[in-house]
Amino acid sequence: MFKTLFIHELQNYLYSLRFQISFIIAILVFAFGTASYIVSIKDTHDNYAKFLQDRQKQLEEKAKNASKLATDMDNYVLSPNSYAIIDDCKESILPNKFTYNAYNVYSFDVRSGSVNPLLKKAQGLNWAFIMSMILSFMTLLLAFDAISGEKEDRTLSLIFSNKVPRGTFIFSKFLSIVTTIFSITIIGIILSLLIVLASGKININARFLFEMSDFLLISLLFIAVMAIIGLLASTLTRQSNISLLTCLTIWIVFAVVLPNSSLFFAKKIFGIPSANEVQKTTNQELQDINRNAPPGSWSANGGNPFYPRHELRANNQTNLMNARKRHYDAYYNQMFHQFESTRRLSIFSPITQFQCLNEGILGGGYLRFQKNWNDLHSYQESFLQWFKDLDAKDKNSPHWYNPYESLSTTKQSVSLDQIPQYSEKPAALVERLTYMKGYLIAMIVTLGAVFAFCFVRFLRYDVR
């Protein structure tokens, strides 16, 4: 019975006008998005390679003086990601630049020019966008009249005059909608991959295939959630135009209102002090440190590393750095908390759940940012240790460590291959799973709860 119903429903959907138009639109966007991405990928990588080259030149310059190497501020800029065709995880607008030296990791920021500031903010045409905005909408368009439409056509009473269990009927509807939309997804992705392969500009390796298969699994789950929401709307009403309006309202809330109102709630509910306030408090403490510093703490003699007051100066500068670090690290933690809490607010939206799950699968977005932030701290400690070991061997150095100046530490030159350099490591599977856990549970719970509600509603649905 289930098989007959399922095939019948699937045929109905596949021959419908809505499927045909949706299919054409989705395939067009898949093809256009991939082609646009392919066109720019080489330039993006070339630009980044040029940046690394320039950075290496600067490093060579600094390596002539180990102290300068340790104290000069350096920026680590995240490389273009390899999974942008699946989902760019908003990495161009999230912090993607870190400032550090051997003594501290100072700050993070969105690098200038990361996106063109003259363009209106928009999302990339990657697979995740097509899923979350287009196919989610199309799923609702297929599902909104699955029950109410049959009732209007009076076919529902006809069906149930036979021995058709209601559970089987609704499940066949659900599965046929999911199959229809998922088939568009699969065809779109295959087309996209064919364009990628034909261009030869992206290396499709095992990791990419693994991430892609994970993405497909999550997409399937996401389509299922959207389909069941559409079916629920259909069981809540007797007229298909009302269930359509309900579906549209739900979609606007999930896709537009909830994600776009988060910023307002972030500031109102999870407010943090402004950067100006933090700077003021920090400056007060820095002024106190300077005021209480022993006389001569600001004296310097560039020609003599053993000038006794350099030790006072180094101590004072270290105290200043530690105070600043204390204030700003606490502030950054508040920022992380604000971001995470705000995200949790919009967790009710399956679209947000889907986006967060993609970050987990790909190890991108906020997960990538957090990993780099933490890894850079570990790297900075090993960099400092390397510098201290180098300094300890130099008899011409008084070993007075100053985080900002190269006055009284080793001025030896070092070769480039000796210098420990930071290299980004992708998030491990365990880290990704930990990140995804909450969102995955939320999505499964949403699916289960809506399905149960829909089922109960349909059991009581007046089919006459």
């Binding site: 646009s36 363009l119 903010k121 905005m133 549209l248 209102v257 910023l263």
Partner: protein, 528 residues
């Protein structure tokens, strides 16, 4: 007869579920969006006040002309409550340097201090109007012919002496009569939010913009109503018509804008900003070398190791301020300043050639996005609104042009008053107050340092006894900068902004007329 059909449709729509649901959506979402926009605007206003006060204070506290580098803070546009445009992408202030052309507004953009919050988009009033009103327009118009046909009423109406165009216009008016009060309510609410806000002064120019905003919104709704009617005239069944309408809606509202932006960013190439920075730093290095060579040449000419002074501040933009020291330091700066200023201006031009090419590439991307977006009526409406609210890229570009003109006027001010040749460029101290020889100064400063190490009291006593009081910066008066040029540019709905708005309005009108013609043509042959 037209009135009768319009009235009938209007009352029918009023009692429909879609009207109630549509009105409820507007009732919740529009005020919420306005609260969010108003909150954002207030945040920007607060930032503006703090930045502007600081900038004024800094400028007014200059004691030498080389320190007179104004910081220009852009006042947030009150109409950004309606349409945010690109204002959130950019900062609010820029310092006007001699050695650099203003490229972008930088600094703090909004009250949004946490860069992680960039991940959350905020949607403005115009975008919400574009989304909801177009949806409502389609929902009310998709079945205007098909429903009558399905119910069999169209036959009954048209067998009477009613011509098809009267029926068509009656239908159109009926839908517009239903939708326009909702639209009017939304804009009225927006105006109320602005009027009751204590920070907003509404001048005639703002009222004109608001009026034009409303008219363009009416035209936008007309376009989508006509589009729905056209789809209805193409379909035999309402179920087909609604599906096509909604797919057209998602195409225009969500796909086209993203496709345009994505294509513009990918097809029009720009360099990495860091690479531009690197090229600029290379020019800066050449500048520093030329500057250093000149300094050494003058030092050699005067027979000194370097300029000594009791207090000194300087930076790479030629800002130099010193107090106390030997007379030769005074001579040194008097000779150096004209060269230094000339190098600064020269290298600013060289850097600007690189920066302008980068800005031009960004503008090319923006233009491409704009032209591709013209394929969507909703994007034309949003472009038109952001142009009227002065929050689009053109307004920013014009503002930056004015800022660069202002930099020129500042240089002209220094030149015409001969401040580059004046000692007031680098010190308020008179020549006679300085030590005759370097040895005399070195002895005096050495003795002062001894006193300083003994404590504050000893240092104070020494300073009062042996040093001219003008050697301390606070004992010198601030400059009178009442005639210093101030940046005073206020965007108006005139010139290019008006032309741009008119062109977008004409496009919407053209689209409306084309769809109107097509629909009427289709409906004249519609099988009832």
């Amino acid at each position: 007869m037209i009135g009768l059909i319009a009235r009938k449709d209007f009352f029918l729509n009023l009692t429909s579920a879609r009207f109630i649901l549509g009105f409820l959506i507007c009732l919740f979402i529009i005020p919420f969006t306005l609260v969010v926009s108003m909150d954002r605007y207030k945040g920007q206003e607060n930032v503006y006040k703090v930045l502007n006060d600081n900038a004024e204070k800094l400028l007014n506290e200059a004691r030498v002309y080389s320190q007179a580098r104004p910081e220009v803070v852009r006042k947030p546009q009150s109409l950004s409550v309606f349409c945010e445009g690109i204002s959130e992408n950019l900062g609010m202030s820029t310092k006007v340097y001699l050695g650099d052309y203003p490229m972008f507004l930088s600094g703090q953009a909004t009250a949004k201090d946490n860069p992680l919050l960039n991940a959350f988009f905020s949607i403005d009033f115009t975008s919400i109007i574009a989304i909801i009103m177009s949806l409502l327009a389609l929902v009310f118009s998709y079945d205007c012919f098909t429903r009558e046909k399905e119910n069999g009423t169209i036959k009954m109406i048209l067998v009477n002496k009613i011509n098809r165009s009267s029926f068509f216009i009656g239908k159109l008016l009926g839908i517009l009569l239903t939708l326009l009060p909702i639209l009017f309510f939304c804009y009225l609410l927006g105006i109320l939010f602005l009027v009751v806000s204590p920070n907003v002064a509404l001048d005639s120019n703002t009222w004109l913009s608001i009026g034009l905003l409303f008219i363009s919104a009416v035209l936008y709704v007309v376009v989508f109503v006509l589009l729905g009617m056209f789809i209805s005239s193409m379909s035999r069944q309402s179920s087909t018509s609604i599906i096509v309408s909604l797919l057209v809606w998602i195409w225009f509202l969500f796909l086209m804008p993203n496709m345009a932006s994505y294509a513009a960013q990918n097809f029009v190439k720009t360099d990495l900003y860091e690479n531009l920075q690197f090229a600029v730093s290379e020019v800066n290095k050449r500048h520093s070398k030329q500057r250093r060579d000149k300094r050494l040449e003058i030092q050699k000419q005067l027979g000194i190791d370097g300029p000594n002074s009791f207090i000194s501040k300087n930076d790479d933009d030629g800002r130099i301020e010193f107090y106390g020291g030997p007379k030769v330091t005074f001579d040194f700066h008097r000779i150096l300043t004209p060269f230094e200023v000339s190098y600064l201006l020269d290298y600013a031009d060289k850097k600007w050639a690189l920066q302008k090419s980068y800005v031009d590439d960004l503008m090319k991307q923006e233009k491409t996005q704009h032209y591709l977006s013209l394929l969507s009526p909703s994007e034309i409406f949003i472009q038109l609104s952001s142009s009227l609210c002065h929050t689009d890229a053109n307004a920013h570009s014009l503002y930056m042009d004015k800022l660069r003109e202002y930099r020129e006027s500042m240089i002209q001010y220094f030149r015409s008053n001969k401040y580059f040749e004046s000692s007031l460029w680098f010190t308020p101290n008179k020549y006679d107050l300085l030590c005759d020889s370097e040895e005399e100064y070195k002895k005096l400063s050495g003795d002062w340092y001894e006193a300083f190490l003994k404590g504050k009291e000893a240092e104070k006593e020494f300073s009062e006894k042996y040093m001219p009081k003008e050697w301390l910066s606070e004992n010198n008066a601030y400059l009178d900068l009442s005639d210093f040029p101030r940046f005073a540019y206020k965007p108006q709905i005139t010139g290019p902004a008006l032309n741009y708005a008119i062109s977008r309005f004409a496009m919407l009108l053209f689209i409306a007329l084309v769809i109107l013609m097509l629909t009427m043509l289709r409906f004249s042959g519609y099988r009832i």
